[in-house]
Subunit: 295 residues, 2 copies
Amino acid sequence: MTEKVGLIGPGLMGQPMGSNLLKAGYPLWVYSRTPERAQPLADEGATVCASPKEVAEKADIIITIVSDTPDVETVVLGDDGLIHGLSEGKVVVDMSTISASATRKIAATLAERGVEMLDAPVSGGDIGAKAGTLSIMVGGKDAVFERVKPLFEVMGKNIVHVGDIGAGQVAKTCNQMLVAQHVNAAAEALLLAKKCGADPRKVREALLGGFAASRVLEVHGMRMLDRDFEPGFKAKLHKKDMRIAMEIIDELNMDLPATKLATEGINRAVEEGLGEADTTSVIQIIEKKNDVSLA
Amino acid sequence: MTEKVGLIGPGLMGQPMGSNLLKAGYPLWVYSRTPERAQPLADEGATVCASPKEVAEKADIIITIVSDTPDVETVVLGDDGLIHGLSEGKVVVDMSTISASATRKIAATLAERGVEMLDAPVSGGDIGAKAGTLSIMVGGKDAVFERVKPLFEVMGKNIVHVGDIGAGQVAKTCNQMLVAQHVNAAAEALLLAKKCGADPRKVREALLGGFAASRVLEVHGMRMLDRDFEPGFKAKLHKKDMRIAMEIIDELNMDLPATKLATEGINRAVEEGLGEADTTSVIQIIEKKNDVSLA
C-alpha cells in the first residue's frame, strides 16, 4: 500500500523533499501559509490544500517542515491545525528543527487521539534536500519509525533512529552546535592563512586530507572563498537553532563556552543585517574586526 | 637514483614514517637524542648515527621530525647539528610543527651553504603515520618539492604544496586551530546529548552523515566515547602548537576568539595533569565542570 503523504511547509527544504516524494510515486497533499510556495509541487502533481486540517484529512503520514517551535504548534494544534483532521493510525512527522521538550508535549497531545508522532529533523541543507541525501535524525517508537522509513529513504541517505520522541531534536541541536563552531573555526583559520600571506585555497585543500577535515571546511569553506553567501541555510535560522541550544544548556545548568561563543557570533551577524544571508556569512564579522578578507 | 634518506627524531610519528621509507626501499640513516628510540628502525635495516652531523654527511635528503622550534634549531644549527655535515645539493625537510618565521630563518641560514629546505608538517596522527596516509603540507621551492615528492608519497596521501618556505607551517597552524576547535565542539555536543538522555553514540553516528561531520567527530569522538585517551597526539604537543598559533595571532594583531578559547581549554587540560594524554582528553575538563561524563 502506498502511503498518502501530506506536507506542510514547502519552503527551501520542504519543496525539494516533496518533489522527491512525488518522483518516488507517493501521492502528495500540500499546504503552505504562503500559497505560491505550494505551486511548484502542484505543478509536479501535488494537491494543494486550504489548511493543515485538510491535509490531515486526506493524508496518512503528514510531514511538517516549518521554521520554529510556535509554527509547529500552530500547524499541529492551532485553529485549522492538523489535529482537527487527524484520526487514529495517522502519523505526524515533524522534520522542522524545534525544541525537544515542545516536541514531547505535542506528541503527548496527539497520542490522546491515537495519533503517533516522530521528530525527524534533517541536516544537509538545500543541496542535500534536492539530491535526496539528507541526514535524518529520528526520535520516536520503533514501529512508527519502520513505517515511515521508506519515505525517509526517498529524502535522505544517513537515517538514524536516535531514540525516543525528542531524541531527533537533541541530535539536531548537537548538529547545529557543531556546524556553528566548525564555521567559526574554518573562518578563523582561513583568515589567519590569508593574513600570513599563504593561499587560503591551498590551505583548505591541504587540510581536507587530515584531521582538520570537516564537511563545513569542504562546503562552507568554499562558499567563504567564493564569496557565495546565498542561502543555503539562513543565518537567522541558525540563530534560532542556537537559541534552542542555549535554552537547553541553561535548563540543564551546563557551561559550554565554545557553543556560547559561536552563538554570539551568529547573533552578531544577524544584528549586523546578515540574517537573510547564509550562516557562513559570520566570516564577514571576523573579517571586519581583523581588517582582512578572503575576497 | 635512489635518494639516501636521513631521519632525525624517530618518535611516535618519525618511527613509522621511517619504517615506511625503509619498506619502500630507501636506505635510511637515523639519529635520536634517546638512542633506544632508533632501535626499531635499526632492526628494520636503518643505520644509527651518533649525531645529526653524521646523518647529514651520509644522507642526501634529511628529514627532521622533532617536538618544537628550539629542537629543530638545535638539530639543524647546533653543535654537531646537520649544518656541520651538509653540503651543496642536499635538502633538509623539516616535518616538525614549528613556527613559520623560525622556519624561514633556518632556511635562510642553510641557503648560504647551498642547502635547500622544505617545511612539511603533517596531520593524521600516529594512525596516519603507520598507514602512510598522512596529510603533508609543504612550503618551499617547486624544484625541491618535486625532488622530495616521491618520499612524501611513501609517507602520506594528501600532499599539498601550499606555497613558499614557511607556508607549510602556516597551513599546519590552521590545521591545529581547526582540530582544537573541533575537539571542543564534539565534546560539548556529545555531553549535551548525554545530559539530555540521548545516546551519544547514536548522535555521533547520525551527525557523521550531515554538515556536522568532521574527522575529529569520527575518530576523536569515538575515542571520547571509548575513553581511549592513549596518545595519538599528546595534549602537551597540541598546547605547544596552539602557543604558536596564538603567537602568530598576537604578532598580526588579530582577534580570533574561538581559537583563543580552544587554546585555553588545552592549556587547562595540561595544567590539570593531562599533558601526556591524548589531546581528546580536554573533554575531561568539560565533563568535570558540567558534572556529566560519556563514560
